[in-house]
Symmetry: C2
Subunit: 307 residues, 2 copies
């Protein structure tokens, strides 16, 4: 029941209204792996890093059941680096620096040992890379989930349309869903996007929760109301990791089980925002996770008795 | 188990990106009454109207169990009139005209026949008027709920603070909660506001749902994802009406029953936005309401099995 995770492993510099860090571990695949490995192992990672990516981080990932055969280390280049500054509402941010570095050479090869994976999570990347990974799989995974972003809608729409036809679940945020569908209503947006290929659509609304669409069905999960959001970086990828981890653990790809996956993902994301980088994800125990999931149950649970 | 509703009965002119009406029935007490009367009767209305308020509307309200003894009709003045224009996102609007008219003379007298009411809903009004109604009650109602708005925080803060000490539940929207508490985090805002008097706080987030706070407990209800929002006017008052109607019908003021009340209120609000004014609220049957509530159950219901 292994899970392949494709995405970046990187460094981030982050400034929020309350704190600042010049260099912290980041990258979509890093967050997905730290979140998902709580639920399923091995995680079969596909990424690329430079000479500067810490060996201790690699070791820590391996200790959590993350296989790194698919992570290429480029000896003479630096790792991908992103720098951003959050606005006061913590919901929007400006990108200050994007140093692609090794990412310019990213042409992933799926290791032979990954070929039996049943689940595939494609982090936000050039759609060509996402498609290349899908095409390399000799047996189509049971469930292919992908993330993307507005940038690819602007510069690589034909490639994006091509990969959308090949995936089961698309994850994006509300503004991206509106841009991709040219619809303001998220219900209408979901209908348009599901015509493009994905049978399931997850729209992430940050502090306003997440929606899961499938045919005429819809499920909503709130974000946990928090006193403090310290750093939202990686929350979307951590959500994806929790979701995929739950699905891969249970091997159940029904709509009902995806609902549970979204609650698990939301719980994991609520930890991620408590500290810079994946730090908080490294600290939490399974009991912490269970307690947090229980908070979600209490947050939305109600009894209705119609008269 | 009667319910007193205090608020405006008015005319609105509304422009949305999709439609326009020059004159439609409006007012907080109108929406509350149409929503609540589905669940509990009589509704004991306290308001003020001018010579121009339609007799047919009064008759229709009476047929739905709304008592109008507390509604003063001023023969030589016009009814309160509000005109507003919604922005493209339907979440924000500009007020174009506010003709107070009869509202300038609003000094409500609680009729003797209302004195046994167990539930009191104070719509958004000058805090002095809200306090005056509370003081007139010879026996304190079992539950007093009030709505307010940013305007009163700006021009009548001492009066607002005074009435806040006398109510059980405060309802306001997210930006108003932030303004009242001077806190950006809604969790922190809720803690500050509950120190001001209300033991329960409902924060309405429009299309992003509603939060109920009480001590350290929190409950979240989503808004129903809709293909189209035709006109959001009155949705907050309709939500209040559904909430109060449910509480007054069940006579149960526990946190758990308030959660259900919020779902009922959200269901009623989802009808309100489908047409101009309270039109849609007049058309729906009890079966329509039950079906809509069932949609909320399906929207948020999930099974979790921790391993």
């Amino acid at each position: 029941m292994s899970l392949i995770v494709v995405g970046t492993m990187a460094f981030d510099a982050i400034e929020t209204p309350f704190a600042k860090t010049d260099r912290v571990i980041g990258g979509s695949a890093t967050y997905v792996a730290y979140a998902a490995s709580n639920f399923v192992q091995p995680i079969q990672q596909i990424s690329i890093v430079g000479f500067d990516f810490p060996r201790e981080e690699m070791k820590e990932l391996e200790e959590r059941g993350v296989q790194l055969d698919g992570v290429k280390v480029v000896p003479d280049k630096k790792s991908f680096f992103w720098s951003g500054k959050y606005h006061l509402d913590m919901n929007s941010r400006d990108t200050l620096i994007t140093d692609l570095n090794v990412l310019l050479d990213f042409d992933p090869v799926v290791p032979e040992s990954y070929q039996t994976a049943e689940f595939l999570m494609l982090g936000n990347l050039d759609p060509k890379i996402q498609l290349s990974v899908i095409k390399q799989m000799k047996v189509r995974p049971k469930l292919i989930v992908m993330d993307t972003m507005n940038f690819w809608m602007e510069v690589a729409m034909p490639g994006l349309e091509e990969v959308l036809k090949e995936v089961d679940v698309l994850m994006l945020n509300d503004s991206e869903a509106r841009q991709l569908s040219a619809q303001f209503s998220l219900v209408k947006a979901a209908k348009e996007i599901m015509k493009m290929g994905p049978k399931y659509l997850i729209i992430k609304k940050g502090e306003h929760g997440a929606l899961l669409f499938h045919g005429d069905q819809v499920f909503f999960a709130p974000a946990l109301p928090l006193e403090e959001v310290f750093d939202p970086t990686g929350a979307g990828d951590t959500f994806a990791g929790g979701f995929m981890g739950h699905i891969a653990r249970t091997k159940d790809i029904s709509f009902d089980n995806m609902k549970t996956g979204i609650i698990v993902g939301s719980a994991m994301a609520s930890f991620c925002v408590e500290k810079f980088g994946p730090q908080r994800l490294k600290e939490i125990s399974r009991a912490d996770i269970d307690n947090r999931i229980q908070q979600f149950v209490e947050l939305v649970n109600f009894d209705i008795e119609l008269v």
